[in-house]
Symmetry: C2
């Protein structure tokens, strides 16, 4: 088969912040589907913070990407060849195609998407893994009760915006933290957060805590943790007795070296954090959404109608062209995206 | 009333490890019970690690002891005067009398003890607050399943020994950590732990982890946290996916300055600990046993018969004389006690 496809591989591991040199665009032969497999042309691919973790050679919840291996991730595309009775050319489906123009996967690892129900890009965002992450952590670990106060970082990102909007739906006070006045305005005006604090305007964690105190007069009952860094430092001492911390990410630390093999400078914040968990009787629950796909149907049943009716809104940050995926990814890690980060591939 | 009693007050706040200078023995007038109150002569008083926290002027789960105020704590004694219909002289009862030879409390804050059922000192240990702490944290937060592996520090202390023995009762592998070969031998031979590691024989957390790895071939599912320090450092990376950490104490840090107002030297262990909680999908649940006294009856109903039948054993470390309480307390904080630390007051 003389047709070709494009993909992006990990050229070398980053130290701290990734740059263009960590990625390489390759042209390779188009694969053919085997028995029970499907070939797709990617329309949109997803860029997510967790991908940064897989670029390191550290123990994580999935195998690191190998050098010269294709970057992984979710994508949605159109079936162009199928050797499965469940898919035919023209079908739209979502799967783990990675950073690539095309891909072959087993039919049972694909999820068919009905483009009549919602724009297909939503299968990677508000109605996909990020939205589901927010829904699961908020409900199952957050155990929300009306009248409580929730704080979430990266408030305009696809996880944070889901969490904040669900909190409002359930009668909680929702306070966001985001990087920039424009994002904070969007969080309050479009997403319906009660307040949003710009962490870039804070000189340090103490300053951020002061700003949060003013908009969380009754303390914090749920801190949905997807950022860590100074937001965690600011929030932890503000947690009310019996508070819950669903923990699914720590983007502020991914590039900082804090998670690397070396030792990080002091002070050692673990003893005081540990004491706060004890004294305030907190529950910190780490979770990884891929463990919980048995609940995906429940999520779609609840949130799909809210998205269709406009009660839950979403924002996308779309970059055109697979070759621009590294730049878009680097921008996202630096907080320069605004909404769910996607690459329009075809 | 010309009779007198003795008590020990906080003379000044310790910096790091307390010494005799932090305490003062006083002789004061014997109090009289008011309406609905009871006067007791203390027979045994309890010394517990949490008391160290209350000597600091830091936010904790209870008000700090004030300077020149009596040290608080549980004690068991004999009623010598009563203005309550529920108690009469000669009754044995347990209550919060603090470090004192006598005390007056409201009858509804006393728990009557039947000396026929078990030695009265057990109301402060295996059948009292420490045993209940172990039972509650192990069951409610630990969510034990037969075949899993549990690790607990201070394994011969009243909390650790309860946790380990309950784990064996429920079909788990129980591994202790304790300070000294004699304690480790006791943990295995008398308490029935599968193994016990002497943290004093470990040069650092890595060395302790190596020793633990050999006796936890399937990793660790439950880490009952009452010590922190190098035990936490050693254990955390060994936690299995879905592991649980009931968190009720951190004795290794109480005297270290790590919890004080100043900043502690690096490295900063929080980012990596936070990542481990995420990657291994751990649940860390802080708890304070006084929140849960509604379950005390369930605890006694389950554990009382096990103690009476000798299926759960206990060890006490008894010091004679109220005036020796500070020394016994300082010894306990240094790990020089062996079993539940008590002072025989009368």
């Amino acid at each position: 088969m003389s047709e070709q496809m494009q993909r992006i591989v990990l050229a070398k591991r980053p130290e701290g912040q990734p740059g263009p040199e960590n990625f390489r665009l390759e042209t390779v032969a188009m694969p053919s589907p085997g028995e029970g497999e499907v070939l797709l042309k990617v329309l949109y691919m997803s860029l997510d913070p967790y991908m940064r973790g897989r670029m390191d050679d550290a123990k994580s919840y999935s195998t690191p990407v190998g050098i010269d291996e294709q970057m992984g991730g979710g994508a949605v595309g159109e079936v162009i060849d199928s050797r499965s009775p469940h898919f035919k050319p023209g079908d739209i489906a979502m799967g783990m195609f990675g950073w690539a123009s095309h891909g072959v996967v087993k039919a049972n690892e694909l999820r068919k998407i009905d483009p009549e129900v919602a724009p297909i890009s939503t299968s990677l965002g508000v109605l996909g893994m990020p939205g589901f992450t927010g829904w699961y952590g908020f409900n199952m670990i957050g155990q929300p009760k009306a009248g409580e106060t929730l704080v979430v970082g990266a408030a305009t990102g696809p996880v944070g915006s889901m969490v904040g909007q669900l909190a409002k739906q359930k009668g909680l006070r929702a306070v966001g933290v985001a990087g920039g006045a424009d994002k904070c305005a969007f969080a309050v005006e479009e997403l319906g957060f009660d307040a949003c604090i710009d962490h870039r305007a804070a000189s340090d964690a103490k300053d951020l805590r002061k700003a949060l105190s003013e908009v969380c007069p009754d303390g914090i009952d749920i801190y949905f943790e997807n950022v860590a860094g100074i937001t965690l430092d600011a929030v932890l001492p503000m947690m009310n007795v019996g508070g819950r911390i669903p923990l699914c990410g720590m983007i502020a630390w991914y590039n900082s070296g804090a998670l690397g093999a070396g030792q990080t400078a002091g002070p050692d914040r673990l003893p005081k954090a540990w004491r706060t968990i004890l004294v305030n009787r907190l529950t910190v629950g780490g979770f990884i959404i891929s463990d919980h796909f048995d609940r995906f149907g429940d999520f779609l049943a609840e949130v799909g109608p809210l998205v269709n009716s406009g009660k839950i809104v979403y924002r996308e940050d779309v970059t055109e062209g697979l070759e621009n995926a590294p730049d878009a990814f680097i921008r996202m890690l630096g907080g320069k995206n605004f909404g769910k980060t996607l690459v329009k591939v075809a």
